[in-house]
């Protein structure tokens, strides 16, 4: 078996374009999912029981089913059943955001409830309103506590964006698989894809480990 690595250099722009799409998708999804996660966390702490139940059901469902199936569902079912037409990229973004929102909401909820009740009581006793307590006492502490979990979710999300290749979003995985089909240089192209993902993912994984050590909660 002879290897011809020049094919990787020949298609470098297509690979890099794909890598850029992967990064774009990760950043946009996380931006949407932070908002979605906060909203879901609020709904789950709502005073109105049916809202709580619905939000909980949503979160549990998205956490318990495979992401690839969720993406397929959004891709095939939304247009057919509800006549919603989205581009492949938007479909991938919606699927990923719904999933990551569910995970983020758990992170935020855990962050908020991890602040001891005594702090609520103390702040209320000082004459603050509930809203003030939330904004000035609870949230500033909770933000730092959720950071490690959010960072882990970020890396998972970065890896999971590769699943949108199955609905033909031109990310790194999709472009690499296309180049493979076009050139038949299977080993070279797939190895280049793995190396590119590794080059992007490895520093992120290391950074997350550092964030975990740096922001670990010691009470």
């Amino acid at each position: 078996m002879t290897y011809d690595w020049s094919v990787v250099w020949e298609y470098r722009w297509l690979l890099l374009e794909g890598a850029w799409t992967t990064i774009e998708l990760t950043v946009l999804t996380m931006a949407l999912a932070v908002v979605g996660g906060v909203a879901l966390a609020m709904l789950r702490m709502s005073a109105f029981a049916p809202v709580r139940t619905l939000a909980t059901a949503f979160v549990e469902f998205f956490r318990a089913t495979p992401l690839i199936l969720q993406i397929y569902w959004v891709f095939y079912v939304l247009p057919a059943a509800f006549d919603v037409r989205l581009s492949a990229f938007a479909t991938g973004l919606v699927g990923l955001s719904l999933n990551v929102s569910a995970f983020n909401s758990e992170t935020f909820r855990a962050g908020i409830t991890s602040i001891r009740r005594g702090q609520w009581h103390a702040a209320l006793a000082l004459g603050m309103t509930r809203r003030q307590v939330m904004r000035r006492v609870i949230l500033p502490q909770a933000v730092w506590r959720v950071l490690p979990a959010l960072a882990s979710t970020w890396v998972s999300l970065f890896k999971d964006t590769s699943l949108v290749a199955t609905i033909a979003v031109a990310d790194l995985a999709y472009n690499a698989l296309q180049i493979r089909a076009r050139t038949y240089r299977i080993l070279e192209v797939l190895t280049a894809m793995a190396v590119l993902y590794w080059l992007m993912g490895y520093p992120q994984a290391k950074l997350v480990d550092w964030i975990h050590r740096r922001f670990e909660v010691v009470e």
Binding site: Y72, V155, S162, L163, L190
Partner: protein, 220 residues
């Protein structure tokens, strides 16, 4: 609008696909546990140089998407070794090595969570290192590892759906096949989604319950 007839006609097809999903998940989890336990133990107690190498394995497999690992294992790896792999085995190896990296971290975290004083006390009592690990450290650490290992099992079941990209005839793949044959993606994907939910949700809840019952045993 909703037509469940294609599903009713093909339920056997999907049931056997579900069986493949379960088999794949079980084998991958088993491989992950074997690799993860070995790597976790060696990284904690083994020689330093080996630790650096194993750390590279763990961090690399945590840094690359499962889809990439699976595609590489199934399409590229056979070209290196000149030996073709059955999709199911490629799936077991890819999924197993991926979860093995995470399990290794769980094992290591569990082992290092037992206070150092216990190892010293055991050694002072005249135990050998291996004996101390086996009879003092592991029993406590194992209970602490249970909840993250349970989450890992749920992850493996969910991730087994990704092996559809290398055409392992599991639930996700076969529902794609059925959806394209019958043109009823809504009914099929929704049903399969519910099946996955019924599979993973009880596992997640069961793990929580077992953990709550065993947690006091792991306290030290």
């Amino acid at each position: 609008m909703i037509n469940l007839a294609p599903l009713a006609r093909n339920w056997r097809f999907l049931a056997s696909a579900l069986g493949t999903s379960l088999l794949l998940s079980a084998l991958a989890m088993l491989l992950g546990l074997l690799v993860g336990t070995a790597v976790g133990l060696l990284r904690t107690y083994g020689p330093r140089q080996l630790g650096v190498l194993l750390a590279l394995y763990v961090d690399s497999f945590r840094a690359m998407p499962l889809l990439v690992i699976l595609v590489w294992t199934f399409f590229a790896f056979p070209l290196v070794v000149g030996y073709s792999l059955d999709p199911l085995w490629a799936g077991v190896i890819g999924l197993g090595l991926h979860s093995g990296a995470y399990i290794a971290e769980v094992i290591r975290a569990g082992l290092t969570s037992v206070r150092r004083g216990q190892m010293r006390a055991a050694l002072a009592l005249g135990m050998k290192r291996g004996q101390a690990i086996r009879t003092v450290i592991l029993p406590q650490a194992a209970i602490r590892m249970l909840p993250p290992l349970g989450s890992q099992l749920v992850l493996v079941i969910k991730d087994s759906a990704i092996t559809a990209v290398i055409a392992v005839p599991e639930l996700m793949r076969q529902s794609q096949v059925l959806a394209s044959q019958t043109f009823r993606p809504f009914e099929i994907y929704t049903t399969v989604m519910i099946v996955y939910f019924c599979l993973t949700f009880p596992v997640a809840r069961g793990v929580d319950r077992i953990f709550r019952r065993l947690a006091p045993l792991g306290a030290s």
